[in-house]
């Protein structure tokens, strides 16, 4: 019990990094996801292929491998070390965010793709019939439908990403899991630390879950 109270402030401090990693990755991941989902629905075959293999590779391999390739692997590439990009790739923080972004981007693109496919043809025909141009149709017709359709699945993805950020601890970052591991390995009392750190994670999942639920209700125009 003492250990639980003692470790709580340290774990809470580390939670800030976890939240930061989650929000940044999700933010960038949405853009990556939209980009590849649009590529996937395009009529040009090569673009479609690129998007397909991107999501296939990132969803078919563990996140741990992706982080290790970006953090340990890219450091080996000579021209990368000499270019200005090295400022980004030498830091574990930015490497973790790049890996998380690409990973969540792949899942997001799949969620959005299936949402794009649910748009009824008649809606688009009506929009074009009214004389709206392509940009208008995309932003005013397609996007609102897609956002509403993909919200429940995206809520799950947000929670998966929150859990995924725990892998940042494998590249020396001290996020919630990293600090928890550090405390466990110095005190050898895993149960207490697990309860505290686990509760913080559960609280965050709970908040995300309810946030998505409220948003779903707000976007439900049918009622």
């Amino acid at each position: 019990m003492d250990l639980m109270i003692e470790s709580f402030p340290r774990l809470l401090d580390a939670t800030i990094l976890t939240i930061e990693l989650t929000l940044l990755s999700l933010f960038f991941g949405v853009f990556v996801g939209v980009f590849f989902a649009v590529l996937r629905t395009s009529n040009i075959k090569i673009l479609c292929c690129i998007s397909y293999y991107y999501s296939y590779i990132f969803r078919g391999t563990p996140l741990l491998v992706q982080i290790f390739i970006i953090y340990f692997g890219f450091g080996q590439v000579e021209w990368l070390r000499e270019s200005f990009l090295w400022i980004i790739f030498k830091e574990p923080y930015s490497c973790a965010i790049i890996a998380f972004t690409l990973n969540t981007g792949a899942y997001t693109s799949e969620i959005l793709r299936s949402a794009f496919e649910t748009i009824q043809k008649g809606v688009l025909e009506a929009a074009y019939g009214l004389g709206l141009n392509k940009i208008h149709v995309f932003f005013k017709i397609k996007l609102p439908i897609v956002v509403k359709q993909s919200l429940p699945a995206y809520g799950n993805e947000m929670i998966l990403m929150l859990k995924g950020t725990s892998l940042a601890s494998t590249v020396t970052l001290l996020d919630l899991t990293g600090v928890a591991k550090h405390i466990i390995s110095t005190t050898f009392r895993p149960v207490e630390v697990f309860i505290v750190a686990g509760s913080i994670y559960l609280l965050m999942t709970f908040i995300i879950h309810n946030f998505v639920k409220i948003l779903e209700k707000k976007l439900d125009y049918s009622k």
């Binding site: 078919g60 563990p62 290790f68 390739i69 890219f74 450091g75 899991t177």
Partner: protein, 230 residues
């Protein structure tokens, strides 16, 4: 390419056995998961409130907490727990619990939380008439479960079991932090001694892609086989 040679000169044989280890851990874990899911899904479906709560607690905790944290709990906790029990029986030495077992159990418990939801959903998707019919026919409980409910449930659950398998397979990479020599750990060792992390981690990614590709094909065939007549 000589880095992947089979034998003493390359890492081919090591990586091959590491791949087998990954598959072995994943299969053990998913079966531990099925066992837990059978128990907790029946808890969730029962009419007793306290059992419902226990079932929900299990699935909420192990689906909401990062896999890595669960692995640390079991990795650091298991030898402590075993030594505590051994002490009661009068043994005072240090006991290290097998890394394979710790890994398979921790991944199994996580995988079980996902399987529980899959099993529960599948049972609920079975037509109500089936339950009523077997009641009217006066089937014994055992026959009712094994011959009526479970075969239908498994067919309905198959696509989602495929998903759980993919998650479990990828989660095994996290066991590398405990030192069990599976694909990730072996790549880490190889990358360290050859100073070629890019090659070995990329190769690990290819191995995982191969495994996920293979299992997707297998599950698609199974699905086709079991949906005959539907």
């Amino acid at each position: 390419m000589e880095l992947l040679a089979y034998g003493d000169t390359g890492w081919g044989d090591e990586l091959f056995f590491a791949t087998l280890m990954t598959v072995a851990v994943a299969i053990t874990a998913i079966f531990i998961g099925f066992l837990l899911a059978a128990i907790f899904a029946s808890f969730k479906l029962s009419n007793t409130r306290i059992l419902n709560l226990i079932g929900s607690f299990y699935t909420t905790v192990f689906r909401g907490v990062p896999e890595l944290l669960v692995i640390y709990l079991f990795f650091f906790g298991s030898s402590g727990a075993v030594m505590y029990v051994a002490k009661i029986f009068g043994y005072d030495g240090y006991i290290e619990v097998n890394a394979f077992l710790t890994g398979a159990i921790s991944i199994g418990i996580i995988s079980g939380a996902y399987s529980t939801e899959v099993f529960r959903g599948a049972v609920q998707a079975i037509n109500r008439g089936q339950f009523e019919a077997s009641e009217v026919l006066g089937l014994k409980k055992k026959i009712y479960y094994y011959k009526v409910i479970i075969p239908q449930m498994l067919r309905l659950a198959l696509p989602n079991i495929s998903n759980v398998w993919q998650i479990t397979l990828k989660d095994t990479s996290l066991i590398s932090v405990t030192g069990l020599v599976e694909i990730m750990r072996q790549s880490y060792i190889a990358a360290g001694s050859t100073r070629d992390p890019l090659f070995f981690y990329s190769f690990a990614a290819v191995l995982y892609l191969f495994l996920t590709f293979l299992s997707l094909k297998l599950f698609n065939n199974l699905e086709k086989h079991y949906s005959k007549g539907h």
